[in-house]
Symmetry: C2
Subunit: 384 residues, 2 copies
């Protein structure tokens, strides 16, 4: 019998407990042993929970219990979660998480501790929720030189953009809809301004090229400035507006990563990904384009990925995975990345002033600075 | 340095050699050691090949060489490939293949030998070409009860159906196009009649539920009888015609698997998968729907999956994967599976004869026998 502990009994922690209960039979059959949830750590008083007998408030109980092999960190944030993850790894316990803020910001340090202690720190659920993406990228595509990763990494903004497209409504109204459906938080800043997607593209970049890309080092642009007019003109030109996280390896070996809204041609498999769904496109020099699609959030989908990591650890106790992005990436500013742009209104400036045609798609690749010089009312990158 | 051998130097074998050469640096960096291609077994005289110095014609050289750790079986078919795979596994060598005929027909026996010898028999490339699907299904989704797997598993037929849709042309013309582009073989039977997709859905079913589904035990229907009228009427009703391999676990625990053309609602992520691309939708009770998309064939995409398996084996020498589907599945005949149907023409028969409306989509679930009684000119399952 393998014993695990969950830290933080919110959406994700509760989902993990539920999947372990709901699928206990299948899990035992596949693993060849039972996975027993021994502790649930939460500061709240949850004595009325069906798991009341396993609820604890003192982390050191988990830390000191040699029976606990795997700890699920579902606390969130990068304060207590960081301290408890450090201590759990130092205590020789494998740690599994969906905490993208912690992995993107402190993964380098935590992976080093895990490696030194001979345990695993896995975080499949930190990108794309339940979508299998990190393990396929690291294992199935290991024979490829990864050239680009490009994806719809945030379900909240994709729902908002889908509603703006389908309903022709403004960002603010679509946001209110998302909030009323529970798809957006009361303070939606991290989602709508691209921070959540930014942390995820950093993790993907860290893994794909083994070099650390810090979230604070990349440009993140959200969707709050996208207008129904932009969406309408994009459609008229055969495009859909999507918030993309992109990471590219340039021919000179340097990298770039950024988050920004893009016009995606309807012919792209990403264009049809709507509502809260996520999709990640990986381009390798052997496989070509491979895409991974599914629910990027939610208690059970996220728990599906967490439990998958737990089972992987327990199936391979003798040889745990060691991931490593200890070296910093040689980054190119995304602003210097020349792409086609969609521009609306504005003027070229100078003596020969002329208003740009509404919804003009400039097919000549331009940098952000060149586009800024156009003083357009709206300028959105086009996914070539 | 890890030494490998390739058996069969055709499209797949050549692709594997090319990926090992092209990405040697990345592979060595990720693995921490060089992967050296020591032998290429082929009955043909390839003395003018750049690999002439490694060409051999006698399998026993590989079999007897203790340096060879991994053998890639790219011979195809289930005769010589079966004998050499058996002997390689018995000789204590890991074997990697893309040979769906061999895996679907003899995987049970070969996996038993691998388990007994403590080596791996991996075949990620046998389903979906370069698309990571088997490892994500077995590892990332291990915490799920898999409820359904449904996919476009054959690129040749998907190209033909795409051309029939886009060009409004007949099956025969679209097939000739596919052949002229090299997407279809001179004898396209195995593709167009569903056998290739059938072998793949059997492998997916074997892995998802750990019970063997023999290809000869499932119903396989191809697309040669699909008319432009069917495709046109399907579109008019908001559907696309796709050849799907489906495997389901029924509420009573029994399973069914089959291959047949389906009307797929345009709202489904599978509907937009065109040309030679494949896509596999997996439904789990925790993750919900996850989809995997990419090139289902071709030398480099297929080689990408083969090399991924090779690296996985070499990274986990101490704990090789043991897959097992030694028990037979409790199968329900797909004909008994009640689904909505699209029917065209025909008559209900009997005294009160009436011609069915052209392109009627019968939303009441019916079995194949019930639909046959309608004596329709055309009857195609609808993906609900």
């Amino acid at each position: 019998m393998a014993k695990v502990a969950i830290m933080g009994f919110g959406t994700v922690g509760g989902g993990v407990a539920e999947v372990l209960r709901m699928n206990a039979g299948i899990i035992q059959e596949r693993l060849g042993e039972e996975v027993y949830l021994k502790y649930i750590l939460d500061i709240r008083d949850l004595s009325d929970s069906p798991y009341a007998d396993r609820m604890i408030k003192d982390f050191s109980i988990i830390e000191k219990d040699p029976e606990v092999e795997v700890v699920v960190e579902a606390i969130g944030g990068a304060k207590i979660a960081l301290e408890f993850t450090r201590r759990a790894l130092l205590a020789g316990k494998h740690v599994v998480t969906s905490n993208k803020e912690l992995v993107a910001g402190h993964g380098k340090e935590l992976l080093a501790i895990a490696k030194e202690r001979g345990v695993s720190y896995l975080f499949e659920a930190s990108v794309g929720g339940g979508i299998p993406i990190l393990r396929p990228l690291m294992q199935c595509l290991a024979g490829n030189e990864i050239q680009e990763i490009c994806g719809i990494l945030n379900g909240t903004t994709n729902y908002i953009l889908t509603r703006m497209f389908q309903g022709g409504i403004a960002f603010e109204e679509a946001l209110r809809e998302a909030q009323s459906k529970g798809y957006a938080e009361a303070d939606p800043t991290a989602d709508v301004e691209g921070l959540d997607a930014g942390r995820k593209i950093c993790i993907l970049s860290d893994l794909a090229w083994g070099r650390e890309v810090r979230p604070e080092a990349i440009s993140m642009e959200g969707i709050s400035h996208i207008t129904p007019e932009d969406v309408r003109l994009a459609e008229a030109n055969g495009y859909r507006v999507k918030l993309l996280g992109r990471a590219l390896r340039l021919p000179d070996g340097r990298q770039t990563a950024y988050v920004a809204p893009h016009l995606v041609p309807v012919s792209s498999p990403i264009a049809g990904v709507d509502d809260v769904f996520n999709a990640i496109l990986v381009r390798g020099n052997a496989v070509g384009d491979a895409m991974f699609y599914g629910r990027g959030a939610g208690d059970l989908p996220t728990a599906s990925a967490v439990v998958g990591d737990i089972l992987d650890i327990l199936q391979h106790r003798s040889c745990c995975r060691t991931l490593d992005w200890s070296q910093p990436a040689d980054l190119v500013d995304a602003g210097d990345l020349a792409t086609p742009w969609f521009v609306r209104g504005g003027q070229t400036g100078g003596a020969a002033e002329r208003t740009l045609a509404p919804g003009a798609v400039m097919t000549i690749p331009m940098t952000a600075a060149q586009v800024a010089a156009l003083q357009a009312d709206s300028a959105i990158r086009v996914l070539a």
